[in-house]
């Protein structure tokens, strides 16, 4: 695991030096503008507007980073052949892959935590205090981070066997489908053939369920997120990531580099 850590820390260093964290400046400017505007246009619902806007911004920026940098994690190394010298060292391909994943997830953790801190500061500015119920905002941020980790795993898997452009399309496509998994489960199975009903049911469990990670409405209204959901989402993200990364490692371990 030490080798995984070495790759992960270098991936984090790459993100920092390639100025990935500069998106925080954009987020800070957005939240400052929102804090000034919200007081004038939304009397009484400042918290709802600020939290919804803040969490949406955290999610969108995280999505952009996890898809675009996630796909480039391995494909860029193969393309530029920086991987060659590394794989000649005593390091297994799955260790490299896991290190790249861990490095980007660490970057996203720092990025998301910094934005969450900014959101809390704006909330204090708008409300002049924080309450116990505002902890739901932190849970919502945690869920966004879990979701991003899952997206990184998926983009890593796709980038192992297809071109970067297709990998981006597949990841974004799967993310959009994953937002509507519940609708797939709610389809009227009674009007379908048994085979089709079984297919949609299996498909709904196979596809990543991103809908469960969205607790923005609860957080915006200061309502607590159930503990069981926190546990369920954590386990779901860990197990799903493990399965996707295992598949990615299986593909990557047999891949002929160019």
């Amino acid at each position: 695991m030490r080798r995984v850590g070495v790759v992960a820390l270098n991936t984090f260093r790459e993100a920092v030096r390639d100025r990935v964290l500069y998106n925080l400046v954009f987020f800070a400017l957005l939240m400052m503008a929102a804090a000034i505007a919200v007081g004038q246009i939304s009397i009484g619902i400042e918290q709802t507007v600020i939290v919804s806007l803040g969490l949406s911004a955290i999610s969108v920026m995280g999505l952009l980073i996890s898809v675009f940098i996630g796909v480039a994690l391995v494909s860029k190394e193969m393309d530029k052949r920086t991987l060659y010298a590394l794989l000649a060292k005593p390091v297994r391909r799955w260790e490299f892959l896991l290190g790249k994943f861990a490095g980007l997830v660490l970057t996203l953790a720092v990025n998301t935590a910094a934005m969450a801190l900014g959101l809390l500061l704006v909330m204090i500015y708008v409300k002049h205090s924080l309450e116990g119920s505002d902890a739901a905002v932190l849970v919502a941020v945690y869920f966004i981070w879990l979701k991003l980790a899952l997206i990184v795993a998926l983009s890593l898997l796709f980038s192992c066997f297809t071109t970067p452009l297709l990998a981006i399309l597949f990841t974004v496509g799967l993310y959009i489908v994953g937002l509507y998994v519940q609708e797939l489960r709610n389809l009227p199975v009674e009007v379908m053939s048994p085979a089709m009903a079984a297919f949609t049911r299996w498909l709904s469990y196979l596809l990543p369920n991103f809908e469960n990670f969205n607790v923005m409405a609860l957080a915006a209204h200061g309502r607590a997120v159930p503990g069981a959901l926190i546990l369920q989402n954590t386990l779901y993200a860990v197990i799903y990531c493990a399965i996707v990364l295992t598949a990615a490692a299986a593909v990557f371990s047999r891949k002929n580099l160019k």
């Binding site: 080798r3 070495v6 270098n10 260093r13 790459e14 030096r17 390639d18 530029k80 052949r81 920086t82 060659y84 010298a85 590394l86 794989l87 000649a88 060292k89 005593p90 390091v91 297994r92 047999r254 002929n256 580099l257």
Partner: protein, 317 residues
């Protein structure tokens, strides 16, 4: 008798191509080759001959269609074997957001070295490859030759027993090439095994105990550079100057460079030729033996291979 550092058995690599990947191109065909411990082995061949393919197969960057290989007695699939191996990729490229010192420290971390040991080795390597003054510059600002030096430094950083270099002289100026040659000779002096690929034959002739010649994915010869080529004298070359005009028949066979003429004759015709030239008023400057070089051996193989390839193409097979 020294043991074997690298053993390659029937190594074959085919690449699928075409829209449905149904056609196959053979990049390397049944390669059998051995490199002995402590020797400098040159792997020579024209571009696309299969040199880099062989090295990439040894490094498990690509996987063989058939065959196997062992390095220091261990199968190449054993990751731990890489502790004793140094590898310089062809036209190396490293993380350009790191400095030379940082990239070497990064690679050293995979070899379980202590922080103090890493620091000492990184400093020593930077000095060895002549990059100590550029140590704090990010690699994105490095020239091709400087990157090649970083590549060489990372290959020998952990004091490996076997060093495999893919085109180590490529992209280097004459000074850089000389330095790489010195490093290879130093590695040999330290008892390391060095295998390097090149298409610069003079380097191979100068450095190698043995060379393997590969053309068209097939090994065409292995041995000491002197034994691969026919070392018998192939003729004599006379270098002379000529003042004034002459119509000696021998002059028709000469090659002129400036004021000087070169004439190649059979060994038994040498004295008669000298007599004729003197009679024509020539001033003999030197007489030397003409021997086949590794280059001629190599060029003959390439020419034969191309002729066979075009014969196959013409017959439509």
């Amino acid at each position: 008798m020294p043991g074997l550092a690298i053993e390659i058995e029937n190594l074959t690599k085919e690449y699928p191509f075409g829209f449905l990947h149904l056609k196959k191109k053979t990049s390397l065909e049944g390669l059998n080759m051995q490199v002995e411990t402590g020797e400098v082995f040159g792997f020579i061949g024209p571009n696309g001959a299969g040199k880099s393919t062989t090295i990439k197969l040894l490094m498990r960057l690509i996987f063989p269609t058939a065959g196997s290989a062992r390095i220091l007695g261990k199968p190449i699939s054993d990751v731990e074997m890489h502790r004793d191996i140094g590898y310089l990729p062809e036209q190396p490229y490293f993380y350009d957001y790191l400095t030379a010192a940082e990239v070497l420290d990064y690679f050293a971390r995979f070899h379980d070295l202590t922080a103090a040991d890493r620091k000492e080795r990184v400093e020593r390597m930077l000095k060895k490859v002549g990059l100590e003054t550029a140590r704090k510059i990010q690699l994105r600002k490095y020239s091709k030759g400087m990157l090649q030096r970083v590549g060489l430094a990372q290959a020998i950083l952990h004091d490996p027993k076997v060093v495999i270099l893919d085109e180590p002289m490529s992209g280097l100026d004459p000074v850089g090439r000389r330095e790489v040659r010195d490093i290879i000779l130093e590695l040999k002096k330290d008892g390391k095994t060095v295998m390097f690929s090149t298409h610069i034959l003079s380097d191979a002739e100068m450095l190698c105990d043995r060379v393997g010649v590969i053309v068209g994915g097939k090994l065409r010869g292995v041995g000491a550079p002197g034994t691969l080529v026919d070392m018998k004298t192939q003729g004599m070359e006379i270098l002379f100057e000529l003042t004034g005009a002459s119509n000696a028949p021998l002059l028709a066979k000469t090659t002129r460079t400036g004021d000087r003429y070169r004439l190649q004759v059979a060994e038994e015709e040498l004295y008669a030729a000298i007599e004729q030239l003197r009679a024509a008023g020539a001033r003999i400057l030197s007489v030397s033996q003409v021997k086949a070089t590794l280059e001629e051996f190599f060029m003959n193989l390439v020419a034969t291979d191309r002729a066979q390839a075009s014969a196959v193409e013409v017959s439509g097979k």
